[in-house]
């Protein structure tokens, strides 16, 4: 049972992230929601690479006596997660700067009021 908890956490984080996006009116909260979904997905990727008692997958500094590759954690998900985090930071920065500019133009952060573009 205990090994399923991370997966439950992943689903929970994605759902928690969706909640403010769908039901909260503040733009900042929407951005936070996206950020939480992203953390959930990153968590998911990290879990995939987890190996009980494994070591970091660096060939040159393996602790003596480790059998390769069985005792190394999987390197690919870590690479994926790193990439995803970097992209996430860029998206987050872009979104926050947009929110800032929108506040200047609209004078509000209420998503219900920021809809000059409709129909």
């Amino acid at each position: 049972m205990i090994e399923y908890i991370p997966y439950i956490g992943v689903v929970a984080m994605i759902l928690i992230g969706l909640y403010p996006i769908l039901f909260r009116r503040n733009l900042i909260k929407i951005v936070i929601g996206i950020s939480i979904i992203e953390s959930g997905v990153n968590l998911f990727l990290i879990i995939l690479g987890y190996r009980d008692g494994g070591v970091a997958p660096i060939f040159t500094s393996l602790p003596p006596g480790t059998t390769y590759p069985e005792e190394m954690v999987l390197p690919v998900p870590q690479a994926l997660t790193l990439t995803s985090i970097v992209i996430g930071v860029a998206v987050l920065a872009l979104m926050l700067s947009l929110v800032m500019h929108i506040y200047r133009k609209y004078g509000t952060l209420d998503v219900q009021k920021i809809r000059r573009l409709k129909e």
């Binding site: 996206i34 979904i37 990727l45 994926l80 990439t83 992209i87 860029a90 979104m95 500019h101």
Partner: protein
């Protein structure tokens, strides 16, 4: 190896590297002189186009190619990225680079008086790079990375007219929609990796079992990429973002959108190609269900697109709704070809759908450029405020007429050729599909006749008495697309045989795609 052979051998990498490097060289060149920078961007896109042409002629005559980034022979497999180039990818790459080149030519005059153009050209080249990457890559995670690059770069481009609140609003909506879409794609990729310990599309296709988890992955990929491609009812970001940016940027976002559409094709036809005929409950094959889901969404797209376009008064927004309808036609065609997999008319429908990608890029692109020309001379967005421009803008009027007839699918222009193939194949699945497609076309005609009247015909308004014809570079860009529309319309079979049929065959032949990688390099 001669120089040309070396170039050819590395052209898949060069196709990506050239625009990527020049994207970051543009600001430096811009320091020398803005004029040189403008030409530099076009020249580098031309070089990319040359590589694509070289690669395409090779792929079309000698079959698909695999290009390896990283170790060719490694004891631990999979720590590498593969580019797998086939006719379909090349077809999309040609469209992408064509749209980017036209966008650059058009923006020479259109954005002349704006500042921040160094960054504009950088982002433009980045969007091109990302779309090309999505089309050439053979690795699903690499696909996601390019998807995110296109998302970030397009978002920054949409906010180009940053003084207008609406542009910011559109950009925010775009980034929310596309980053959530991309996150769900990443989630699906994680699920794939968890099951098969692989990220390569060909390897995944080889291993895929169509388990319950695979169904979830398919749904996630289909719906998220569908949202990025503008499938109704998730299309609402399209009018917002297309309607609030300079038309040259719309061409680039359109190429990113088409690349997402290509992603769907790749997922269904290649990645799930082996398991499409798996029987599900009630012994219905899987492809029937997937095909009908796509057809249903496509019908909704066509109807919502045209019906909403009919009541728009903002010209750019109106064309954006028409673009939604055109995307619906593509989905209708591929949905049919999936639902009826294996029949002859499924192949015809797929060819129609693939040809429609090109036609959509040309027609909608042309209309956006014309709309941009109107905005450029009249400085007005609403159709209610402009009138009688045909008196002073003869060339633009002719280009608009070509775009209008092409997008409504009137013979003998290019829109008719692909729609003809679509009508005469989809009715075999169910007659009502052709009927709705025909109806959508006539409504599109009505939509653009309204624009034709409002913008070009009608009485001459005093404040528009001395408007001038659009500048030469804009006319050149429009003229190129219009000439292409007429050429494809008059000689459809040449384009069909040379480009579309190989692309459709490559899509249907997933076994070959898989064997290129799985059979050993």
């Amino acid at each position: 190896m001669t120089f040309l052979e070396t170039l050819l051998a590395h052209s898949p990498a060069l196709v990506i590297a050239t625009p990527l490097l020049s994207a970051f060289l543009v600001p430096l060149v811009g320091r020398i002189s803005p004029r040189i920078r403008d030409i530099f961007a076009l020249v580098m896109l031309g070089v990319t186009g040359c590589f694509i042409g070289l690669l395409a002629s090779d792929v079309l005559s000698h079959g698909s190619r695999v290009y390896v980034f990283g170790a060719k022979n490694l004891s631990v497999p999979l720590v590498r990225i593969l580019f797998e180039v086939d006719s379909m990818g090349m077809f999309m790459a040609i469209i992408t680079v064509m749209l980017a080149g036209i966008a650059v030519i058009y923006s020479w005059s259109f954005l002349q008086k704006q500042d921040g153009l160094d960054k504009y050209y950088t982002l433009l080249l980045l969007v091109t790079t990302s779309a090309l990457g999505m089309e050439l890559t053979g690795d699903i995670f690499n696909f996601f990375v390019f998807l995110e690059i296109s998302c970030i770069a397009s978002c920054a481009l949409i906010a180009f007219w940053v003084e207008e609140g609406e542009a910011l609003e559109a950009a925010f909506k775009y980034i929310v929609v596309s980053s959530i879409g991309a996150l769900f794609v990443l989630f699906a990729i994680g699920l794939l990796y968890a099951q098969y310990n692989a990220l390569n599309i060909a390897t995944l296709a080889h291993l895929l079992q169509f388990s319950f988890l695979d169904k979830i992955i398919l749904v996630l990929l289909l719906v998220s990429l569908g949202m990025k491609a503008g499938l109704a009812p998730m299309h609402m970001w399209i009018p917002d973002s297309y309607g609030r940016t300079p038309p040259s940027i719309v061409l680039l976002i359109m190429s990113a959108t088409l690349a997402s559409f290509y992603g769907i094709l790749r997922v269904i036809f290649t990645m799930y190609g082996n398991v499409l005929t798996t029987p599900l409950r009630f012994s219905l094959p899987a492809h029937l269900i997937i095909g009908w889901i796509l057809i249903a969404l496509a019908i909704v797209s066509i109807l919502i697109g045209v019906i909403m376009a009919l009541i728009q008064t903002d010209l750019l927004r109106l064309i954006a709704y028409a673009a939604v309808a055109e995307i619906g036609y593509m989905f209708l065609a591929i949905g049919t070809s999936i639902a009826a997999l294996g029949t002859t008319y499924a192949t015809v429908a797929l060819q129609g759908g693939v040809l429609h990608i090109l036609n959509d890029a040309i027609d909608i692109g042309l209309l956006f450029l014309v709309a941009g020309a109107i905005y450029f001379v009249a400085k007005k967005r609403s159709l209610d405020d402009i009138s009688g421009l045909a008196r002073n803008m003869k060339y633009t009027t002719v280009f608009f007429i070509i775009g209008l007839l092409a997008v409504a699918g009137m013979p003998p222009l290019n829109g008719f050729t692909s729609k003809f193939l679509i009508y005469e194949s989809v009715y075999q699945v169910n007659p009502i599909l052709s009927i709705i497609a025909l109806l959508g076309s006539i409504l599109l005609l009505a939509v653009f006749i309204k624009v034709f009247y409002a913008a070009f015909l009608g009485p001459e308004l005093p404040e528009l008495k001395d408007v001038k014809e659009a500048p030469r570079s804009m006319l050149l860009a429009m003229g190129f697309l219009a000439a292409l529309a007429v050429c494809i319309g008059l000689f459809p079979n040449i384009f069909l045989d040379a480009l579309v049929k190989p692309a459709a065959t490559a899509l249907l032949d997933h076994a070959q795609y898989i064997n290129m990688v799985v059979g050993g390099l």
